[in-house]
């Protein structure tokens, strides 16, 4: 199977115009790197073989995807999978080797320096794992830094920065230096700095992996809140599966530079594309991710469609379990006032046990 098969958008939850559109993107490090993508032989090789054969490392290999307006697009993978390189290619912080990137339909790779600078200044800004704050500046001036680079006047940019500082919950710390803040607070500054320029897209590069678990949770809530309030498009890089499942509308799972699966959290957990993904999602609490839609079966008869508790098809399996356990009988799945299916304890348990639809049949038979 090739990566392209998986990278076709499989759901149409947000069928709007893509913000980022990436096609056949390669990033190869090493001597004569530009020859690798064009060479069909190389495409077949594994990462180690490629390095042994050519001395090159392909950090991103033939990747294609779209990021839709308003969605949170998560790129997930272990370290070395090429996810950080990928996100840097989007604004050409790392120059891609080949492929195509478009933002709102405009070709990024053909942009000249000033156009590219324009892109970075106004359309996409980034939050970094290690914050990247200027240690010699106050919180306020750090937040205003992006505006300063744009050439916004001092008073105006400080006013705007003060607003954003308030928004990320750092009010009262404007005059502190980054060195006097905790990790979580520093990342709030990083977030505020990215927000201050009011970008179309926010790019996050493992923003919370350097933080303590509790603070990480807070920050995730913060991102969810911001997304809910502003509906900004976000591209989020992480190596933490639970974070990806929590935040992502769609998730691209990367391994050795390739996207091995792209889909909603439910698709990833519910129908892993290969053993690698399956292995990856094995320990996930599936009832938290899977929706009732996957667990339901068609109603056997009319009686079933009329009685029992009703659940929404987008509710999680754990919610349905609660309903079924309380009533002791199957629950109806209601959408727009119509019963579209039934969930019973057998179907729900199959989801929790991680059995696919085919396994389920085998058991039933």
């Amino acid at each position: 199977m090739t990566a392209a098969e998986h990278t076709k958008p499989t759901t149409d939850t947000n069928a709007a115009e893509p913000v980022f559109s990436v096609r056949n993107l390669w990033k190869v490090f090493g001597p004569k790197a530009d020859r690798i993508p064009a060479n069909p032989e190389c495409a077949e090789l594994s990462a180690e073989e490629l390095r042994a054969r050519t001395g090159c490392t392909a950090a991103v290999r033939d990747v294609s995807f779209d990021v839709h307006k308003g969605e949170v697009f998560v790129v997930m993978g272990l370290s070395g999978s090429g996810k950080s390189t990928l996100v840097r290619c989007l604004t050409r912080l790392i120059e891609p080797t080949s492929g195509a990137i478009a933002i709102d339909g405009e070709d990024v790779l053909s942009m000249d320096k000033s156009r590219l600078r324009e892109l970075r200044r106004h359309r996409a800004s980034m939050v970094f794992q290690h914050f990247g704050l200027l240690p010699h500046r106050s919180v306020l001036d750090n937040v205003a830094y992006g505006l300063e680079i744009q050439g916004v006047g001092r008073a105006e940019r400080r006013a705007k920065a003060a607003e954003v500082v308030e928004k990320v919950g750092l009010a009262g710390m404007e005059e502190r230096r980054p060195g006097q803040l905790s990790g979580g607070q520093q990342q709030r500054v990083g977030l505020a700095r990215a927000l201050a320029v009011d970008p179309e897209v926010l790019l996050f590069d493992e923003p919370f992996s350097a933080l303590d678990p509790l603070i990480r949770r807070d920050m995730q809530e913060e991102v969810i809140r911001l997304h809910r309030e502003e509906g900004r498009t976000m591209v989020f890089i992480t190596h933490d599966l639970s974070e990806a499942l929590r935040l992502g509308d769609r998730i691209a799972l990367m391994r050795d530079g390739r996207i091995v699966q792209l889909g909603t959290p439910e698709e990833i957990v519910g129908s892993p594309a290969d053993d690698y993904v399956r292995d990856f999602v094995r320990d996930v609490a599936r009832e938290q991710v899977m929706t009732v839609r996957t667990a339901m079966r068609p109603a056997d008869d009319a009686r079933e469609t009329e009685t029992g508790a009703s659940v929404s098809p987008d509710a999680t399996v754990s919610a349905a379990i609660e309903a079924v356990a309380r009533t002791g009988e199957p629950a109806r799945v209601m959408e727009n006032g119509r019963c579209i299916g039934i969930v019973d304890h057998q179907g729900l348990l199959a989801v929790v046990a991680g059995l696919g639809p085919s396994d389920q049949k085998a058991v039933a038979a």
Partner: protein, 327 residues
């Protein structure tokens, strides 16, 4: 590897910066045309006189007295600068200094600057006669009177032995500034001696004082006039007599050093346009004893040169009155 785009940008910044710096530099230099050579900047009756201060005290005495009189009697400002002799000649030619008051003979420089380039002019005798020679302390000469003949030096070589000279006798040498033929003399006279270059007059004097205090025998390259002679009695060892031209080939020298009437030299411009100051310095002439008197005040009583000059001037009015330019 993340600095990919960064690097090309750095290079550009760098190139722009280099170009800008180069352009600025060129502008700054070419914009103002040819530079002053420093020579003709203050013609006429200028009020500042620049004199060199050689490293030895005798010459410091000249400068101190001349400077004192120029400032107190003629109303000039005097700037003094310490420098090596040959360097002073060069500075004199450039006009960085106006006069050398005591020169022990630099035939090469004299030929080049005075005769060829004509940037320096002779200023006449200082009145003091200098003489270089080999000396032993008087306490040693008293005990062994025949040491004062070079032919007997080998007999005493053992007495002059030090760790530095090994199995030969040591002859102490002075600052590299001073003209010396000693290595040639030793070789050509077949003496069992070895030169030890003390590297500066200060360390030579320190060593001599140390020997004298312990009444140890020593042999040294030395000269008169020298203020230390008033403190340690020195006796000259007679070398084969100096004859005109016997020191022409530095490798074949086997004779004593000549007696040198010490000379004054002035910058040509200064001599012509220096007004009263130039006139005064040309007239400046005194005796070995007078120079020694001031030198001793500086070196031994540790008076500052100004204080020593003041003391001498107050006591010797008749002498310096004669140097004053005629009205």
């Amino acid at each position: 590897m993340r600095m990919n785009t960064g690097n090309t940008r750095n290079t550009r910044v760098l190139r722009t910066a280099t170009a800008a710096a180069a352009a600025l530099g060129l502008l700054a230099l070419s914009g103002c045309g040819a530079a002053e050579t420093g020579k003709s900047q203050e013609a006429g009756d200028k009020k500042t006189v620049k004199l060199t201060v050689p490293s030895w005290v005798g010459a410091q005495a000249n400068t101190a007295v001349a400077a004192y009189l120029l400032e107190k009697e003629l109303g000039y400002t005097v700037k003094t600068q310490q420098m090596g002799e040959v360097l002073a000649w060069d500075a004199l030619s450039k006009g960085d200094i106006d006069g050398i008051l005591e020169d022990w003979g630099h035939p090469k420089e004299e030929k080049s600057y005075v005769d060829t380039k004509k940037t320096v002019v002779r200023g006449g005798d200082l009145g003091v006669t200098g003489h270089i020679g080999w000396f032993v302390p008087k306490y040693f000469a008293d005990k062994h009177p025949d040491v004062t003949d070079w032919k007997n030096l080998n007999k005493y070589a053992d007495e002059f032995k030090t760790a530095e000279s090994g199995d030969k006798g040591e002859i102490l040498e002075g600052s590299p500034d001073y003209v010396t033929n000693d290595d040639a003399i030793i070789k050509n006279l077949k003496l069992n001696l070895k030169t030890n270059y003390s590297g500066s007059e200060a360390s030579q004097i320190t060593a001599m004082k140390k020997y004298a205090k312990a009444k140890k025998p020593f042999l040294t390259y030395w000269w008169t006039p020298q203020w230390l002679n008033a403190e340690i009695d020195m006796v000259e060892v007679k070398l084969p007599e100096y004859k005109e031209g016997c020191d022409a080939d530095p490798k074949k020298v086997a004779c004593a050093y000549p007696k040198t009437p010490l000379q004054k030299f002035f910058n040509a411009d200064f001599a012509k346009n220096g007004g009263k100051a130039a006139q005064f310095l040309k007239n400046f002439k005194w005796t070995t004893e007078q120079q020694n008197e001031v030198a001793l005040m500086i070196a031994d009583e540790k008076l500052s040169p100004e204080a020593a000059a003041e003391k001498w001037v107050k006591a010797n009015e008749s002498t310096w009155k004669a140097w004053m330019p005629k009205k």
